[in-house]
């Protein structure tokens, strides 16, 4: 049981996507112009990730190693189609606002990365815990980034105006440049925090880990794909 809790909580801070482990950047940047969109996107990813982890770990002994990536993609794609249909039925305006990024959940590296790095090697219960934790972490991060950009760029949070009147929103923050700059600053902030914490523990601050491809869980996948060919 403790290990299940550990698998769940690691997604909430130690391996928090996309701030600690830089994964799934496209939806992170694209849909976080408002907090509500970020929350919606996060919830969709949470749903797909948890179920895909569960199904893949249940089938991990049946799926042949050589075609596993194709199998993971089919499972993820079926779940994404289910999410698309559900969103069309119940939250149509959100579906329209997220636009092309709903079908693109299937190529989100978090899904394939967790399938390859975790679900294909662990049992069903830990995999569900891992999916829930990572998905919740992703939802929190996206909602946070969305709320930050909405506040700075539009002067509202979840559509509610911020209380201080003298605040002049910079519309730039809800546009593309704001997304890149906000995320860059948050990642730098995370690095600064990590260095501070490791100094307090008396360790030598390590180099920031979120250096591109190396931290991407899909990197593992790319490397094996390269080797097999």
């Amino acid at each position: 049981m403790p290990s299940v809790i550990k698998e769940f909580t690691k997604g909430l801070w130690d391996e928090l996507p996309p701030f600690r482990v830089v994964l799934g950047l496209c939806p992170t940047l694209a849909v976080t112009s408002t907090a509500e969109n970020g929350l919606g996107m996060g919830a969709a990813v949470l749903f797909v990730l948890t179920l895909s982890n569960a199904i893949i770990s249940a089938l991990r002994k049946i799926i042949p190693g050589k075609v596993r990536i194709a199998c993971f993609i089919v499972i993820a794609a079926s779940l994404v189609v289910a999410v698309e249909l559900l969103m069309q039925a119940y939250t149509y305006s959100l579906y329209q606002r997220l636009g092309i990024f709903v079908p693109l959940i299937v190529v989100n590296c978090i899904i394939l990365g967790r399938a390859e790095a975790f679900a294909s090697r662990n049992g069903v219960i830990p995999s569900i815990a891992d999916g829930l934790g990572m998905g919740l972490g992703f939802t929190m991060s996206l909602t946070f980034l969305g709320a930050l950009r909405e506040t700075l760029g539009n002067g509202t949070v979840f559509g509610i105006p911020v209380p201080w009147e003298a605040f002049r929103p910079a519309h730039l923050m809800v546009m593309a440049p704001g997304a890149f700059i906000c995320l860059g600053l948050i990642l730098a902030g995370m690095n600064a925090f990590n260095r501070h914490m490791s100094r307090r523990k008396g360790e030598i601050p390590t180099e920031p880990k979120n250096a591109a491809c190396a931290s991407c869980a899909a990197c593992n996948l790319c490397a094996t794909a390269r080797k097999e060919n």
């Binding site: 950047l25 794609a77 989100n108 440049p177 890149f180 700059i181 860059g184 690095n191």
Partner: protein
């Protein structure tokens, strides 16, 4: 004239990475050196063209006539994934030198949302076939241009005194933000 406008708009005004946020993962992951960036960009252009050339007829002659449009996502990703595998095998057998320079990037492209994104955008925009091909070519070129620019900036950043906490991805993201600001200026051209 319409086609020229489409071409320029897909490269600059609606640049796939800097304005539409698609393909940001490879944009950050493969932009450390210019050589790698050029290889990745070329591979993306190639696969994007092939993907649209295959998914467009599928959508118009299979999915739409039989009323199974909701399967679009699953069909497209399967086509793109197998296409990437096929292209890799084909290049390896037929044009080994090209495989040596592009082969490394091909597996990466399966999870590149820019390729899948263009295939879906073409359908949502209801482009005719040749317009769709032109659009995907221009989008790929836009990706290549953005990737080459940021990789040459990052090569310089490597030898610049960047504060330690900003090193790596954070400063690259902020650079991308500034580039995106520049590309935003192109939107004035369209008006």
């Amino acid at each position: 004239m319409e086609y020229l406008m489409l071409f320029i708009s897909a490269i600059f005004i609606n640049n796939i990475v800097l304005v539409q946020y698609l393909g940001t993962c490879p944009f950050m992951g493969t932009s450390k050196s210019t050589d790698v960036a050029i290889g990745m960009g070329a591979a993306v252009i190639f696969v994007m063209l092939m993907a649209v050339a295959f998914t467009w007829p599928l959508q118009h002659y299979v999915l739409t006539p039989y009323g199974i449009g909701y399967l679009q996502t699953i069909v497209f990703i399967l086509v793109i994934a197998s296409l990437v595998q096929f292209v890799e095998l084909f290049l390896k057998k037929v044009i080994p030198p090209l495989h040596a320079s592009l082969g490394l990037f091909l597996p990466l492209i399966t999870t590149n949302c820019a390729v899948m994104g263009v295939a879906i955008m073409v359908q949502r925009g209801e482009y005719p076939f040749f317009k769709a091909l032109l659009f995907s070519l221009a989008t790929g070129l836009g990706f290549l241009i953005a990737l080459v620019i940021i990789s040459s900036i990052r090569e310089r950043l490597d030898i610049s005194p960047v504060p330690a906490v900003f090193r790596g991805i954070p400063v690259a993201l902020i650079t991308a933000g500034v580039m995106s600001l520049v590309f935003l200026a192109f939107q004035g051209m369209a008006a």
